[in-house]
Each structure stands twice: as C-alpha cells, then as structure tokens.
Amino acid sequence: MSSIAARPDVIPAAPKNYINAKSTLMSWLFTTDHKRIAVLYLISITIFFGMGGLFAMLIRLELITPKGDFLTGDMYNKAFTLHGVIMVFFFLIPSVPATLGNFVLPIMVGAKDLAFPKINLLSWWLYVFGGVMAIGVVINGGIDTGWTFYPPYSTTYAASNVTLAILAAFMAGFSSIFTGLNFIVTVHKMRAPGMTWFRLPLFVWAHYATSIIQVLGTPVIAITLVLVAVERVWGVGIFDPQLGGDPVLFQHLFWFYSHPAVYVMILPGMGVISEVIPCFSRKRIFGYEFIAFSSLAIAIIGFLVWGHHLYVSTQSTYAGLVFSLLSFLVAVPSAIKVFNWTATLYKGQITFEAPMLYAMGFIGLFLVGGLTGLILASMANDIHFHDTYFVVAHFHYVMVGGMVMAYMCGLHFWWPKMTGRMYPAALASIAAILVFVGFNLTFFPQFILGFLGMPRRYHQYVEEFQVLNVMSSAGASILGIGYILQPFYLVWSLVKGPVAGMNPWGAKGLEWQVPSPPPTFNFPDGQPIVVEEAYSYTTEESHSGA
C-alpha cells in the first residue's frame, strides 16, 4: 500500500496524505486514523466476500442437477451455512458502515476523526479475531446448522464447529457494536460549526439509524449465542425441550436481533444511494426530511417485527397478526425512500457513470425485494412460502440486489476520494451491468422455484425444477464475473489510474472539499464552517467541478 506514495508519476510536491503519512506495516495495523481503518476493513471484508462467494459457488454447482451428486448432503449443509455465516457476519454487516462509513462519515460531519479512534481500531481487531475463528471453523470441518444456529440441533445434535462459529459471530458482533457507538457519538458531538442536523448528508442519517440498531440489538444476540454455547458445552438445558428448555425462546431472542440486523444490512446502503442519486441528477434530493426520518422509522419499527420469522413456530396467531401488521408498516418508510429517489431523478440532468448504474440497479432490485417482503409478511402466504426458495430470492434481492449493489455503488463513488485515482469508467460500467443482469438471472428464477414449492437447504430436488435451477446457476456465473472484474481494475487504477483530483464528480459535501486522498486529519485548512444545505446542486452546473 505504501508503495503508492513512492510512485514516480505522482506530482513530486504531493502533500502528505493519510496513505503516505507513514509507511510501516505497524503504522497500518495499529493506526487510529479512521481512513486507514476503513482501508483495513475494505481489505478484510473483501477476503470474506470472496470466501462467502466460493461457498455460494459450491451451492450453485450442486444445484445444476436434480441429483445430489456434486456434494453430499452433509457437505451441502456446510456450504450454505458457511455461505450464510460469512456473508452475514463478516461481509454484509460491516460492509458499508465499517469501510465507506468509517472513511467518509467523520469527514462528512466535518470532524478530524471518529470520537473514539482507539475503540475504532479495537473494533477492527475484534473483527479480525472473529474472522480468524471463522476461518478456523472452515479449516476444522465447517458448521452445518444454518446461519441461524437453531436449537436443539445446534445445542445437542450438530457434530460440527458450532461453539467456535458462535464465538466468531460474538466477536464480530462486538466489533459492530463499537462501530455503532462510535458513529452515534461522532454524529452528536463532532459536527463542525454550521453542520446542523438537517444539513447532515443522508448517508450520515442512515448510519445514525443503523448505529442505534447495532448498539441496542447486537448485545441480545451476543448473550443468546453465549447461552447456546453454554448449553452445548455443559450439556445443560436452556433451549433443548428434552432438558426442559424452549427452542422458540431462542428463535425470539435470535430474531430480536437478526431482524433489525437486516436493516443494518440495508440502511447504510440506502444512505449511499441518497448520496449518489442527487449527484448524478444534479438536483437537490427530494424530500430530505422524509428520507432522514424514514431511516429512523425503519430502525425503530424494525425492532418490532421479528415475529414474522415465527409464523409457523408455536407463536400465537394473535401475536402473528400484530407482527404481520407491523411488518407491513415497516415497508412504508422504505417506500418513502424509493419515491423520493425517483422524484429526485425527475427532470434531473441524469448521467450514467458507474456509481449511478449501481444506484439505478439498487432501486429496481430493492423494490422487488421489498415488495416480495410484503407477500411474506402476510401470514397466510407465509405458511406456503416459509422455507422455500421464494424466501431465499426475497432476501437476496434485498441483501445482494440491495446492499451489495449499494456497497459497490459507494465504493465506485468514493474510490477516487479514498485513493486519489480514477478507475477505467467503461470497465466499471460493464461490471455494473454484468452484476445487474447476472443477479436477476440468478435470483428471479428462485422466486418461481419457491412459488412452485422448492424448499431451501436441500441438495437435491425433483426434475421439473432443473431448468430454473440451471438458469440460476448460469446467472451466478455472470454475477461472479461482474464481481471478479472489480478487484482487477480497481487495483489497476491504484497504479495506472489517472489522478482524480479533489472532486471528480462535481459532488457536494465536505468530503469533496478536501484533497484526494485526504490528509491525516482530513481538513488541511482547519475545521470547516458549513454555510449551505446538503445537496445544493444546480442543474446547469457542469460535471467538471474539480
């Protein structure tokens, strides 16, 4: 990394920035600079994204044929469990907040760093320790409980590395809690003069809402996982009904976190989209306050809907009724966002750079993911769709079509800021289109499969389903190519990419008013004073604002 600074074609008088400030490995591993920590996260989550993707590949390879011939049932169970555990705890949850959020949030509010830089570093180290444990799980033979760790299978019967996987998730959980805590305090206390709450970029609002969930939700799953581990190690009954426990209690505790956690996996993405859409439509965002408060509404209502995962457990019908209503309600703020983004596009001066392609893809895919969520939120439908591929398709539309697209959107948007370099625009656009096409081909057939009744988590299926499964696997290959292209041209851009300048997109926001890459304490001219609203774009302005 440090070699970038030593490259001959950088302007010789290049001022010190966060990358070339120090060059030893230790100065990276024990840095308290939020930007360097963001880069550390970026590298680590990319590794885990690759691992999770590898397991997805195994799943899709197995499902090309109806017979369970490529993987044994046992291996297949491990493949989808590891895919889930790694993608959820080690990619999706930290993806946007820990990398892009860590990098730009302090700059956006006009601060030199997050409120607690050392805790930020601690949070990365916790993630690394958790990640090493997760790799340990993989090496030691995997885990086969599903990412949900449902007892009594996980506590009593599973012979795989449940305890180690739980510890890994526990560590990653506290890493996430500390990130959230840091963000909340930073947003409250570190804003520059003039940066009022309603001048904050919506990216910051989205992260604020996310952080509330991280701080209040994650500890519940932490203690729940501890209980599973205790039950498993000491053979005492907490959740196993044979020993007097109640497995449904586990499901309640688990989803009390894990449902809000799906908003941890989408809200930051929505924040990215709220930045990118106004920039590439040259318009102030439509309905700023509504988007800001809808983030908070999602975070709050999101805590009250967990029971929709338990319609077919022993949960009472009346509880189910309430959870169903609340689940419908949580769709409202999400819809508000979608309407406001599209209204922002209206009569905008729209251009389709790579980040904008991802953002448009996000809106479409999130819309499908969100609307199919309503189908699942109604109790009668859910009894039919429960544990079918319809559910798999639904949450992949939100998690992958939504969050992964948004993550890539943000990465392409802020890459010039983070590295000072531009990536090849054409290649990036091709990758974005490949991802969009591949994604739809992978997951749309799964809606039909689920509708026809194909259950999830089986390594074999009846022959009628083969065509749709082959389509899905073919789509996954296209999706894979779209993903694999990115590290190549992004790394290439570090070496050969043209120098980006301070503001290649002509974007608004404090992060575009500092050099690329920013210096260690972000604002070379001292603390900024904010005098204008967020997104004060004008349609006539040209794109070359640098």
């Binding site: 519940v220 005492v236 109640d246």
Partner: protein
C-alpha cells in the same frame, strides 16, 4: 476513555467540553448496550419463571438469602464510596480519592469472595447444572428436576456474567488507582474516574435486580 494522555484534549477534539461530552455519551451508549446484553438473560429468566413457577419457588430456597442480602449491602455501600471518589476527583481531594477507590476495591473484592463461597456451597450440594446435578432439598408444588436445574443454569449464568463484570471492574479500578497514585487526576482531568463510576453503578444496579429475582422468589408476603 480512549484518548492519549498527553495534554488534556486529544488531537481530534476541538476543546475539552466536546471531549468530555463525547466520553459521557459514549459511556451511556455502552451501558445501553449492557442493558440489552443482560436483558436477554432477564427475558429468558422471565419466560421460564412463568412456565415453571414451582421449580423457581423450590430452587430459590436453596440460595442463601443472608449471603445474597449481605452482598447487596456491600455493593450498595461500594456505590457510595465510588460516588465519593468521583466527587473527590472533581474537587481535587487526592487523599479522599485514593481512600474512596481503596474502599470501593475492598468492597468489590468482598462481594466476589462471598460469591465464591456461595458457588462452592452449590458445588457441595450437587447444584451445579450438568451430569452431577441432583436435587435433594424440599419441594414446593411438583417441579421436575430438569426444571429446577434450569433455574440453576440461569442462576449461574446471570450471577456469573455479573461477577465477570465485577472482576473486569476490579481490574479497571486497580488501573485507576495506579493513575491516582501517579497524581494523574485533577479537577480538569477526572473523566476516567467518573466514567468508571458509571460502570460501577451499573454493575451494582444489575445486582439489585438479580438479588430479588433469584433469592426472594418465594419470600414475598
């Protein structure tokens, strides 16, 4: 909490007020997180107590109310000594600060020693959940042994988590005492004491809930 010790204001803050407010808010959020962490345990306790009232009444009788009650007093007094330590730190009373911290530490360790004897007693009476668990005491209603064992599972996890917080607290307390002896604290620089006070009071409050829930199940009027 996480600031460098050179100078009063860490590099990334504009002034002392911002730094202090950030630290206080950060600590409150950390405690909110702790409330949710223990909350998962309290919910589990509640669910099983409602499901198995007889087992709860029966098993609670095996806990020593005098030891538990005495420990409650010990912790409450330690909260007083901690609060006075914070006041001494704020007002620059160095001797009072050291005395308060010493008393807090001694009371905290007293709690842990009593807890140790309680656990040891459970061990001798086969009340540690697992293969050797065996209930021989008097029975209220008709609980199964598995249900009684479940009470003790929760008893050990809840008090164990609490004790773990006490041990961590004692560790931090010793570090703060070391700082106090170095003359680190002054009326301008006392946040570490104050924030630790937050934590210590929180751990006390957890016990204030644990004591009646675990020890006094069958002792209400």
């Amino acid at each position: 909490m996480a600031h460098s010790s050179d100078g009063l204001v860490a590099h990334h803050f504009e002034d002392l007020e911002q730094q202090t407010e950030s630290a206080v808010l950060g600590m409150w959020l950390f405690l909110a997180q702790e409330v949710m962490f223990f909350g998962g345990l309290f919910v589990s306790y509640l669910v099983y107590r409602i499901k198995f009232p007889d087992a709860w009444a029966t098993a609670s009788g095996a806990l020593n109310v005098w030891q538990g009650g005495g420990n409650t007093v010990v912790l409450l007094v330690s909260s007083v000594t901690m609060a006075s330590s914070v006041w001494c730190a704020q007002t620059g009373r160095q001797r009072g600060l050291k005395l308060g911290l010493w008393l807090t530490l001694i009371l905290g360790l007293t709690f842990l020693v009593v807890k140790y004897f309680e656990y040891k007693d459970k061990f001798f009476h086969h009340l540690i959940p697992g293969a050797n668990f065996h209930w021989t005491g008097p029975v209220i209603g008709s609980p199964t042994e598995g249900q009684i064992e479940l009470f003790f599972v929760l008893y050990f996890i809840m008090t164990g988590m609490h004790a773990l917080h006490m041990i961590i607290g004692a560790g931090i307390l010793i570090w703060i005492m070391a700082l106090a002896y170095k003359g680190y604290f002054s009326p301008q620089r006392y946040m570490k004491v104050e924030l630790f006070g937050f934590y210590w009071h929180f751990v006390d409050i957890v016990w204030v809930f644990l004591f009646p829930l675990l020890y006094l199940v069958q002792r209400h009027g």
